[in-house]
Amino acid sequence: MNKRGKHLWVHILLLSIFAVLLFPVAVMVSTSLKTFAGIFSWPPTWIPDPPQWANYIQVWFGPYQFSAPFFNSLFIATTTALITVVLAFPAAYALTRFSFVGRRSLLFLMLMTQMFSPVILIVGLYQIVQSLQLLNTFTGIIITNCALTAPMAVWLLQGYLRNVPLALEQAAYVDGCSRVTGILRIILPLSAPGVAMAAIYSFIFAWNELLIPLIFISDSQLRPASLALTDFVGQNVVYWHEMMAASVITTLPVAILFSFVQRFFIQGFMSGAVKE
């Protein structure tokens, strides 16, 4: 009896915290289903009648053409993830399978770079990207993204690789397998979850990044979703219903990917601080 009473309080507390926490999301979804007149009605309604599902079609194909920034983001984020993993995986392998002078410093350097705000590098990066004539190109954004995601990917991957047993790999070497073959045939498949985690981390980073496209992209055809959303608000009349529909669309890919990996993220960031 006492125990049940206690837990009731826990539920009440939790539900009230979540009511506040989910408030903006509820507003977002609700607004995305309103008519243009509906968003300016006062008092506001929570459940639009009838819900304007057409807003989603309108923002995707209509004057905003949100499909374009969405696919731009998709391309940028996917490519960033691929290149990051290709760069980071061998490095993480080396950091866990060899001992050499400077190994610890290198790990520290990776961790430190991950803490950088792009703002520190951006003036220097702008010059590089400009001199490579990559302003207003996806390539410029992608290589810049990779510079910021690679260190974290190395860090996450080395944490994973450290727990992949050496024995299997060594058996292959005894059988006369070369190291590169061993890595590709044995280590890579075994560390697939870690690789997926690093790739998804990079994807989400690229998907969310605003500062880099803000500075590198002026051609509106090439804007990724994050920049396109910010630009909408800058205009005089804001079509909030369409904005919110675009916002929901922008959230979906991240939500889907994230639900797979959130557990690993925690382990990656905490590695060591929590003893299992």
């Binding site: 520190i120 003036v123 990066l125 979703a225 959303l229 939500a255 959130q262």
Partner: protein, 300 residues
């Protein structure tokens, strides 16, 4: 079982450098070189809108000017307060959530799923959704507060200095709460059951248990989580820019926003770089704390 390396070689069989080379080359071009450039720029006068002045080496002049300007110290303090406010909010609410979720309750998976929602929301989306919530004319915040009789008239949340400052921090908190809650939950679940049970047997109250057992055991987790969160919050550009662009009247201009505005708004590359280097130094200090906290429990 690490293999020691005796001589420098690039053989894929024996050498780590074969595997490290791509990332090291890439990082030297894309991270080390830009930082060196920014450092160099911070010693120059370089205003793109005044080509007549040219690029001149001025030594530490930019730093002297910066540290002597009251405006910089105001921005510095504002950044510290904004970061502090946001991190404190995230930590407290995150801890409360973790503490509640660590109990053996029904519907735990349901609550965890709800917790993911703010986490998966992209920063820019969150900022824009909150911007609409804060809207002075038709925003839902005004409606809720009027319904609760806490507000009599429409309030332009992002149009006043103090409310914009708090509102942007709240948005940042909102984004960070799930991460903090998850970290704290992982920490709480790693506390051995026997310890808590023996405390129960000794007749410790819930509050005593929290203060005397849970908090001391959680100290490393709390240190790691708050430091990491402070770094991210300090760096936050994606929340403030879509919400207020640093306004009204600089009320939400943090160092990161200031550095961006100097370099790409006023095109004062020298001063923008100087602020970037100051940010860099501050981040280095934070990172050292994080690294120490992390390494205390780890052999690498």
């Amino acid at each position: 079982m690490l293999k020691p390396l005796r001589r420098f070689t690039l053989s894929p069989e024996k050498s780590p450098f074969f595997y490290l080379l791509p990332v090291l080359l890439f990082m030297s071009v894309m991270v080390a070189y830009p930082i060196a450039r920014v450092l160099y720029f911070s010693f120059t006068q370089n205003i793109l809108t005044r080509p007549d002045l040219g690029v001149t080496f001025v030594g530490l002049q930019n730093y002297v000017t910066l540290f002597q300007s009251a405006e910089f110290w105001a921005t510095f303090t504002r950044t510290a307060l904004w970061t502090g406010l946001s991190v404190a909010g995230k930590s407290l609410i995150g801890f409360l959530l973790a503490w509640l979720l660590a109990k053996e309750i029904a519907w735990k998976r349901f609550y965890m799923a709800l917790l993911l929602i703010p986490w998966v929301t992209p920063m820019v989306v969150a900022a824009i959704a909150w911007r609409w919530v804060y809207d002075g004319e038709f925003g839902m915040l005004n409606w809720v507060l009027t319904e609760l009789h806490m507000l009599s008239d429409h309030y332009v949340w992002l149009g006043h200095k103090l409310s914009a400052f708090v509102a942007t921090a709240v948005t940042d908190m909102w984004l960070g709460i799930p991460f903090m809650a998850m970290l704290f939950l992982a920490g709480l679940q790693s506390i051995p059951r026997e310890v808590l049970e023996s405390a129960d047997i000794d007749g410790a109250s819930s509050f005593q248990r929290l203060r005397l057992i849970i908090l001391p055991l959680m100290k490393p987790v709390i240190l790691v989580a708050t430091t990491l969160s402070a770094i991210w919050t300090f760096n936050s550009f994606g929340v403030i820019w879509p919400l207020t662009k640093g306004g009204p009247v600089n009320a939400t201009t943090t160092l990161v926003v200031e550095a961006y505005q100097r370099s790409f708004g006023a095109f004062d590359i020298g001063m923008g770089s100087t602020i970037a280097i100051v940010i860099f130094v501050i981040l280095m200090l934070f990172t050292l704390v994080y690294y120490r906290a992390l390494m205390r429990r780890e052999e690498l």
